[in-house]
Structures are given as C-alpha cells and as structure tokens.
C-alpha cells in the first residue's frame, strides 16, 4: 500500500497511551465523534481505526486490526474527517471482502462512486411496509410452525457442535416466495445473499462458499469474512458493512436480500472486549449496558420500505454459550428479533435433523403471513394445536419417567406415541428434502389424527371433519 491513500485530514504525532486495541491520541483539534482514522505504525504500515470518545485535546481511538507493534513515539495518526464509509455496487455480488469491506479475492476494488456510511440510518416506522409475504423454506418446523416472512429477522439459536450452518445453508438454498406456490424466488425478482462471518473458523466460511457454489447462487452472494484468526475488533464493523451493502441492494436496486450473519456471539465478545478496555461500567456478564441498543442498530436494519420493491430478511446465527438461552447475547437478541429458531441438543443426539426444538422456537410475524389466501385456512389453528399437543407430550413424558409408561392413561399413551412420531416424521427431514407447505400440513394432520378428537380443542369442528383421519373419525 502506498504511504498515503486518502487525501485530506489532519495528521497527529502523539500517542499518549496504548491499551489493547485502544489508543489515546493527544494534540488533535476539532476531532469528530466516530471519525475514521488512519494509523501509521513505526514500520510505515497503515491500519484503520475510529474515534470512540473525544475530549479537549485528546481522542480515544479503537484500532481495528489491534495495536500490536504500535509504539508511543513512532506512531502517526491521521484523522480523515468523516465516519466509516464503504463502497457499494451491484458488482460486489460474487465477490469476497474482509471484515472492513476491502476485497480479498484478488479482484479489484469495486468500481463505484457510491459510498455509504456503515452505521446506516434508522428506518422511519411510517416508511415501513409490514411484512406479509411468506417465504417457503421447505422445512416443516419453519414453514409449518415458525413461518419466515420477507422482511423478518429470525435468528438461529444454536450451540457448539450443532448443525446450524447446514440449516442456514438449506434455508438459503430452498427459499422460495411461498405466495406463488413452487415458483423460485428468482423468477421475475432479483435476489441476493449477503453473508457476513464474524470470528468463525475458515471451515465454516468454506462450507458456505461450497454450498453457495453447489446451489448455483455464488454469483449472487457477497461475502464479508472476518475469520477466527482475524483481528477481533474488526468484527464490530463486519456486520455493519454487510448490512450497508444489503440496504443498497434492497432499497436502491430493489432486490430481495437475505442476510446471514454468523456468529453473533463472537461479535458480542468483541464489543465486550472494547468496553472492558475502556473501563465502562458493565451490566450482565461483563457486557456493556448498551449491548441491546448496539444489537438493535443491526437487527433493525431489516424490513421493507414503501419506496422500494426490495426487502431485507435477516438470519443471524448465534451459538449460545453453554446452551444457555438466558445468556445476554441470545436473550437480548430474542427481545429484538421477530422470533427465534432454537436448536435442541437432545434432538441432535437422537439423530434428528434439523434438530429444531419446537417449543422454545417462535415466529412473531407468522400470524400475518399464513392462513386464508396465503397458505391455507386451517394453518394458524393447526399450528397452535401441534404446539399444544407437543407441549402436553412433554408433561406426559415427565410423568412416564416417574410412574412408568404402563401406568399412564390411555390418552396419555397416545400423546407419547404422538410425540415420538412428531419428532421422527415432522421435525426430521433430510438436508435435501424440500417439503411444500401442503405436504407439511398433511403430515401435521396425520400426526394429530393419532390423538382422540376431543383433545383437539384448538382447531374447529369443521376442520376436524375435513382433515382428521383418526380411528374415531366417524363418530
């Protein structure tokens, strides 16, 4: 890289303190909050950073690639006079970038004069369109009971060693706009995938790249990679850079953009690291008090607006440390996102794929995208009935483990059978199986028919007459 890549700005020589990824610079006047800086280390190499706090004659700067090798005397800091912007262009699809948005696939810088602030701006609630178009993913546990809509943010809560990557890849591969049954998402409408990796292993990034190649989508994918061995602080910018491109594609190029962010837990840890170094008052588990607002500033960059046909749908993936759903990362995420798909350890052990733990999973927007004229009239009540029955199964299982299966009442024994079949036939499906919504509904009714009719109080009597196939169907 040449010595000076950006014009303008003021250069300052005077680092007062270096601690972790944070440096305190003295002698700068009129520094802006959140301004981008360029740091020249004693060997002449350039790094980037940004201003976290400004005071009289000093500025606190976060160095994205870390402070290794910086010295108090030999370090020059140049304040570039603006907030962090990245170039955005349609040509960025099919390309791979680092966590700050610079190409790392050997190709040239994107040719564009359009630069956008990575922080984005909040969408005015009056400008939004409420999501109503459902996306058929071909996965029963999603389409049937946790339906994903265009413009929704629906995270995958997982744990180490569980197949969240496969599930995300399957969703990306099979997603079609369900309203026109069977029509691929591409038909007549442009789609794009923006993939951001924060602190994941190279294998994971590779897995996604392969999976995009296999489904023929690679030319529609922009990847932003900050891998496990890349500087952690850079991770703060990675999802924002990815979402900035997504916003450009969705709201200016009118594309339907699916954003996959993995792994948000690593992002949270980077944020915590910065906060700790700065000596901020921590809230839970050492995370900063503003973690909620910070996460919201990314998750809320999802949705549809009235001035564009495009949309952004977000699937953040996060591994719950120790499978603990009350950990601040999944907890605060769940408060912001519109539901969550939770993967369950026990189902995974039982060899069920995808191991979606149905009971804690939820899609908040589901009610507005299903039912009459969208999927099928009985869908909402059918879903509630499956949930209620499966929840009852859990109670019965607990009871059976105490008093033994033989002691259960006849009805409870039927619940046990229902529960097993539900996991084997409804939840379980292969990585390549793409079920239509009709098929999913059919399987659900088949399972419900294992229970006596009077147990089914969530569905209407008409629906029972039409779809129930159980033993006492005629009575």
């Amino acid at each position: 890289m040449s010595e000076i890549t950006v014009q303008g700005g003021q250069e300052v020589l005077g680092v007062r303190r270096i601690e972790g990824p944070i440096i305190v610079v003295e002698g700068a006047a009129n520094v802006s909050y959140d301004e981008v800086v360029e740091i020249q280390d004693p060997r002449g190499e350039l790094r980037r950073g940004r201003v976290l706090e400004v005071g009289e004659g000093f500025a606190v700067v976060q160095v994205f690639s870390g402070s290794t090798g910086l010295s108090i005397d030999g370090t020059r800091v140049r304040f570039l006079g603006g907030t962090l912007h990245i170039p955005v262009a349609e040509e960025m699809l099919g390309r791979i970038f680092d966590g700050l948005g610079s190409p790392i696939d050997g190709g040239p810088e994107p040719l564009t004069d359009r630069y956008m602030d990575v922080n984005g701006l909040p969408i005015n609630p009056t400008a939004r369109i409420y999501p109503r178009d459902y996306i058929q993913t071909g996965i029963s546990t999603i389409d049937g009971v946790n339906t994903l809509l265009r413009g929704q943010k629906l995270p995958l809560f997982s744990g180490a060693g569980m197949p969240h990557d496969q599930l995300a890849a399957q969703i990306v591969r099979q997603a079609t706009l369900g309203k026109v049954a069977g029509a691929p998402q591409t038909e007549g409408e442009e789609f794009a995938i923006v993939f951001a990796a924060m602190g994941v292993k190279n294998d994971v990034a590779d897995y996604f790249r392969r999976s995009f190649t296999e489904s023929g989508a690679l030319t529609r994918v922009a990847m932003f990679l900050n891998l496990a061995d890349d500087p952690p602080v850079e991770r703060i910018v990675t999802p924002r850079a990815a979402l900035t491109l997504a916003e450009y594609l969705a709201y200016e190029r009118e594309m339907h953009v699916l954003v996959v962010l993995t792994d948000m837990t690593n992002y949270g840890e980077a944020l915590r690291q910065i906060s700790n170094v700065r000596g901020e008052v921590p809230s839970r588990k050492g995370y900063p008090g503003y973690l909620y607002s910070d996460l919201a500033s990314m998750y809320e960059r999802t949705g549809r607006i009235r001035t564009s046909k495009g949309s952004i749908t977000q699937i953040p993936i996060l591994t719950m440390p120790n499978d603990d759903i009350t950990h601040p990362m999944p907890d605060l995420t769940g408060y912001i996102t519109e539901g969550q798909i939770v993967l369950g350890r026990e189902l995974n052990f039982a060899g069920i794929y995808p191991p979606v733990a149905v009971l804690p999973s939820l899609s908040r927007l589901m009610k507005d995208g299903i039912g009459k004229n969208r999927t099928r009239d009985d869908h909402p009540r059918w879903g509630a009935q499956l949930y209620a029955a499966y929840a009852k199964t859990q109670d019965v299982r607990a009871l059976a483990s105490v008093i033994g299966e033989e002691e259960l009442t006849e009805v409870d024994q039927k619940y046990l059978q229902f529960g097993r079949a539900f996991e084997r036939e409804f939840v379980n499906q292969s990585f390549t199986e793409n079920r239509t919504i009709e098929r999913t509904l059919e399987i659900g009714w088949k399972l419900l028919s294992m229970l006596p009719k009077q147990e089914l109080t969530r569905v209407t009597l008409d629906e029972i007459a039409q779809y129930y196939k159980g033993e006492d169907a005629s009575s």
């Binding site: 009056t126 709201y251 919201a296 001035t307 769940g334 105490v402």
Partner: protein
Amino acid sequence: MSEQVGTITWISGPVVRARGSRNVGMLELVEVGADRLVGEVIGLEGDQITVQVYEETAGMQTGAPIYGTGLPLSVELGPGLIQSIYDGVQRPLPLIEEAMGSFIQRGARFDSISREKKWKFTPKVKTGDEVKGGVILGTVMETETFEHRIMLNPDDSGTITWIAPVGEYTVDEPIAKLRMGKEEKSVTMLQRWPVRRARPFVNRRGANTPLITGQRILDTFFPVAKGGAAGIPGPFGSGKTVTQHSIAKYADAEVIVYIGCGERGNEMTEVLQEFPHLVDPRTGRPLMERTVLIANTSNMPVAAREASIYTGITIAEYYRDMGYHVALMADSTSRWAEALREVSGRLEEMPAEEGYPAYLAGRLAEFYERAGYVNNLNGSQGSVSIVGAVSPPGGDFSEPVTQHTKRYIRCFWALDKSLASARHFPAINWLDSYSEYIEDVAAWWREKVGKDWLSMRNRAMELLSEESRLSQIVKLVGPDALPYTERMILETTRLIREGILQQNATEAVDAYSSIEKQIRLLELVLYFHERGMAIVKRGAPINLIHDLPVVDTIIRAKSTITNEEMHKFDDIQKQIDQQMGRLDAEYRS
C-alpha cells in the same frame, strides 16, 4: 431566542460536555453543534455543562457551539395530537418521512402540531368571566366524534376580556384574551408543557371502576382500575406486545397513548397500518381516531428513548384534564431504564444494581405516580391508567427493573415462558399474578352486572390453586391415584384454563369478550363443577364426566358464541342439566 451558551469539549455517544455560561438551567433544552441537534442539560458543574443529545452524535466535533433556549424540554398540546405518530421528542414521523425519505436523518425540526390546519372552535365562556387554570374555554371536534376541550393553561388565571366567536382558527391564532392583574394575555389553542412536570389536578379520587379490556384473564381475574397502574413483565416471546396491543384495541378508555419505547420498528408499523382499519366498538369509528402513537424504536437515538415515556405521559395527562379516561401503554419500560443506565454509564456515575443508576427506583416511582383517577382543575373527572411492559433479562423477575416496578404498581400480570411455549395465550400465569384492585372494583361489578363476581372469581382462583397442588401429586404418582373428587377439580380447571383463560387475539369472536360474556362463561364452568362434584360424590367414575359432549361445547363457547348471542349460554346450561341429569339419575339409585 437561542444564543450560544457554550463550546463542546467532550463527546461520548449521546452525552456531550461543553464549557460556557453559568446561566444555563438544569433540564434546559439546548441545541448542540453545527446541525443544532436537540439536547437537554442533565448536569452542571461550574462552567461545565453536561447534555444528553436526542439525536445521533456521529460526526460532531469538539469546539462546536451549543445554544440555549431558556426553556425546559416540553411538548406541544392542542388539537391534532390524536392520530399522530411522533418520535420520542414529539417530532411527527410522517413529516420527517416527507422531508427526508424513508430514513430518519439528523437535525429534523418540525412543529409537533400543524400550524396550518384550521379547527372549528366553539366558545364555552363569555367576556367578563373569571377563569382559573384548566377551565374549558371552548371545544373543537378533533375527529368526527371526539370533542377536544380547549383549556386554559393550568398556571394562568384572570378575567376573560375577549373570546373568539364560533369559527375556524389555527392553533396559534388567539381564541381568547385574558387579563391577569395588569397584564393582558392572548390565549391560543396551543399549549406547551414541560414533560418532566406532572400536570396539576385538585385531588385524587378512589380508583374503583375497572378498566375493561375485554381480556378475560385481566377483567375477570386480575382487573386494573381506571387510574391504576399495571405491569406486564415477561421474557421474550411470552406475548407482552400482543397483550399491550389487545388492551390498546379494546380498553374502554376514550384516548389511548401507545409508547413504543426501544422496541421493534415493524411492531409500530403494524399498529399504524392496522388501527385505521379496526373499528372502535364504542364509537363505530376507526381505532386510530382515539390513539396517539409515540415511536422510538430500538435503533433510534437512545436519549430520545428516555424522553419518550415523559412525552407520552404528558399527552395522556392533557386529555385527562379535559375529563377523559386515558390508557397509556409503555412497551417497554425496561428499554427506558436501559437508556437511563446508558447515559448514567457515560457520565461515570456510581452504579447501583446491575449497572443501573441509584435513581432508577425514583424515576420509576415518578412515572407510575402520574397515573391516577382525579378531580381536575375544571371540575371534571378523568383518569390516566398506565400499563407498563417490563422485559427482564433472561426472564428473571428478580432483576432491578421488575423489582422496583413492583413497588409502584398494584396490578402485576406475570407472563410465563412455559405457557407461551404451549401456545397458551395470553401467557399470564394465574398463580404469580396479582391485583390489588379486586376489592375496590367488586362494587362496580355488583352494580353493573348484578352478579356476585367477587365470590365466583375467588372460587375459580381457589380451584386453580388446588389444581397446582394436585398436579404436584400427579407428577409423582400419576392421576389414577387421586380420588374422583379431586380429579373432578382437574376436569373443571381444564375448562377454566382452556375455556376462559386462553384467549385468541387473532380470532374475531374471541379477541374481545364483553363482561357479560365473561361472567356467564365463569358461571357456567362453576355450575358444571358443582353438578359434576355432586355426581362424583355419589360414586360415578370420573371418565363419565370427562366424556360428556358438553365439555367440548364449553371449551369452544368462547370462540363460537359472540358477545351478542348471550342466549346461547342458556342452551349450554340446558345441555349441562340434561347430560348431568342422566348421570345423576343413574347414580342416585
């Protein structure tokens, strides 16, 4: 009006410090930086001024000026509030969209209330009248059915020297002239009121009329009184927002103020797109025509989130002063508390529990104490009821915001994750919730419905708590070990849970239950219980009761019988009599 009072010396997120004049007031509204962003003075020390800024501060520089306004942070009050949607500091979002497009940019300055729109004013006082603060000077029809009463500012009083005749006026045209001592003052329909100062009233009345919400678990089991305060705490996905929306739709208040405080953008959009199409059963007009929305979503600036609660409650008090019943929803007060914590952290204040500032409890108290059923200055009566959602981290109710909230509310609707997982909605746990208004509103029920609601309600609660005890035993030894009389209790409580407590907010018939329907359902279930118990005591096996067709009919009654078809409940009672009668006869011999 605004002169430079200082120069910025330090910036960290929404908090800015400046050095300058010692005449700036605490909580004064200031304009910060070259873009003149709105801020509020939250600390003064010598010549150092600490400001919280209600807009994004990225790009702001040290050395930039701040300007004083001499006024505290205030809201504009007058006709035109209803049907509006504002951000946390009362800027109208539709105008921001018109001017700036789909994204909210910085430095937006708009009048909160339109200065162009003309309102038909009808005077209610005459020249020469001695008037005091709060008196109604005249009226304006704010919507086709809603009468907006133009009041004199509570701080003013004097003699009317001129009152405008019936006619069309804008909010800043004079509609009256008032002599106060030697001065003469012109009065307009527009008032400004500092958000952090509660609007005055004469005194509080007892809160003994329930706020009817049409939600069975609330009205029948855990009622909140008009002028009361209720909290809904719950982990994510347990249905706080759905419950808040249901109350906003169906509560029998004349005005609804809905504050989306640090929550999802799509949820506010849902309200905005849905409410104009929903009909208010009392007036037959769209629900939006009684609603004021404050939307400060989670990605909007955090300091404005702190202000949004005050903006909302001040608007609510204004309508209360006219003599209306106002219900205010705040979703979620935890996000507001977090905004306090964030600003406090940037100020490096000594934290109390979990990083929250020590004044958290005081601020919560100030907010909830602004609820009340009061005698207004003008002799009318009005109320502000507050329903605050709480989002405890990890669903743990022992955290500071939930705990402090519990001290200032008298009605607690505890949401339960396991109920939500089983899709039992509203997922309000009947054993953890409470209402301290039960005795207070019992007289109202007796008078209004003519039935002994209190003893029926208590009987049902008794059965539910008995169920909880019995289910502990069932978990250990299975249901077969229980005597039939106890299994009869389990049969009845299933009817209570599935037939009464569960309510589907998305289904037309079930979404709103009139109080007549609520009490009738409860009566039927208890009747079923008494009859069943009598039979079981004579030795009839429990499965005969369980298999009665009327059980299914009762469970489905909530969604098959509309509020207008009350006679159909008599049919169900007949069915109980017939089916139970047969069993009764069989086992009598």
